[in-house]
Amino acid sequence: MSDPTSPRVATPGQTIGPFFGYALPVEGGEQLVPAQHPGAVRLRGTVYDGHGDPVPDALVEIWQADADGRTPTAEGSLRRDPFEFTGFGRTPVDPAGRYTFTTVAPGATAPGRAPFVAMTVFARGLLDRLLTRVYLPLDEAVLAADPFLAGVPEDRRHTLVATRDEHGFVFDVRLQGEDETVFLSHGSPA
């Protein structure tokens, strides 16, 4: 157990269950920047199940670079200071399955890569967390040239790209079904 060189098998995940609501959400967890911030954008969406019904007991987290593509290193993602951009957001969905973050559009962290917001989804009924990416529809040419997006089957690629509306960006999460969101695995290629 104490051999530091031997690879270990990861502990399995489990569902977040229904009763996380008093434990994980934190005040202001959905606000990465104040709404008055000059670069503030709204990123919102709905989590849907396989019948297309909203999931009312999900938790959504995001983690992102700042507008200049810098990865935040500041503490304070739980006890928030509105003047400090920590890049982490966490919010439960509302009874209609909706989440909303106030944030900034991330900058690219590497040349030739489309910027994205990393997202984790937890829910009752979901036995392990799911990871995905939210690409913003800011520059069609950059999205088209991104090597990761190019490797996603064309008929599913749109599930990773938010749409725009008058209030900002919309990214729905579909756990199952017709337009099922592309969820990611970061281990060895299967």
Partner: protein
């Protein structure tokens, strides 16, 4: 995928324990016959009725981590109060139940400690009741117990909580469904790709075989990774019993040299 006879309403509680047991046994037999080792829970596990409409039907898409995925959000002492790791002192009196210390290390798959990172827990009280509006199970709420704790791992990756042992509680997956006693753990690694939430269980729980959430980890060796060990060296004289549970997150994608910086 979904059979037409299976009721997907989460609160239907229509099936008997015997029929759930038969489903669990059938899946296990298929698993044993297939001869492939699984280390994670099945996302699609029909005995857990709520998973039916909430599991992806397509394979996860491989992505090489990039950008922010290669690091994790930073938490620190600003985020976590020093008393938050003791769930028995948060609410104006001693909670009822078996006081216990739960401790262990958070490591990555290469055995490196996950240092100074956030660990969050939440749990039912000793009577099996959560402080949550939707938990209407007729067991007493303990006015001295909220069941929520946080801490940061130390330089060795060690976490430590003082709490009371949670009770089992009923839920509406099927008739007479009871969850084994458990503590929920939320963990961040050194990379966002290691983010995970899981549940810690207690050794020898008679409800294990009956519980479709625990059994959704079909491989028995993988399941047992969620069971803490009673540790008499953690137990404290005339004060608290002790349990040890180590958590391994997925491997790091960075080179060791970068990770040591």
């Amino acid at each position: 995928m979904t059979t037409s006879t299976t009721d997907t309403a989460p609160d239907a509680a229509a099936a008997t324990q015997a029929s759930i047991d038969a489903e669990i046994a059938g899946i296990r037999e298929e698993y044993d016959a297939a001869g492939r080792e699984e280390t994670r829970p099945r996302l699609d596990y029909p005995p857990y009725r709520s998973s039916l409409l909430r599991h992806p039907t397509k394979d996860l898409h491989h992505a090489d981590p990039e950008g922010v995925e290669l690091v994790a959000p930073v938490f620190g002492h600003r985020d976590v109060g020093t008393t938050e790791a003791d769930l028995t002192i948060q609410h104006g009196g001693d909670p009822v139940g078996e006081r216990m210390v739960v401790t262990g290390r958070v490591l990555d798959a290469d055995g490196r400690p996950v240092r100074h990172q956030l660990v969050e827990v939440w749990q039912a009280n000793a009577a099996g009741r959560y402080i949550h509006q939707r938990d209407q199970h007729p067991a007493p709420v303990d006015p001295h117990f909220t069941g929520v704790g946080r801490c940061l791992t130390d330089a060795e990756g060690t976490y430590r909580f003082t709490t009371v042992k949670p009770g089992p509680y009923p839920w509406k997956n099927h008739r007479n469904a009871w969850r084994p006693a458990h503590i929920h753990f939320s963990l961040f690694g050194t990379e966002f790709t290691q983010r995970m939430i899981t549940q810690m269980y207690f050794p020898g729980d008679p409800l294990f075989a009956l519980d479709p959430i625990y059994q959704a980890i079909v491989d028995p060796r993988a399941r047992e990774r969620l069971v803490a060990a009673y540790d008499h060296d953690v137990t404290q004289h005339e004060w608290a019993t002790g349990y040890r549970w180590d958590i391994v997150l997925t491997g790091t994608h960075r080179t060791p040299m970068e990770a040591e910086q």
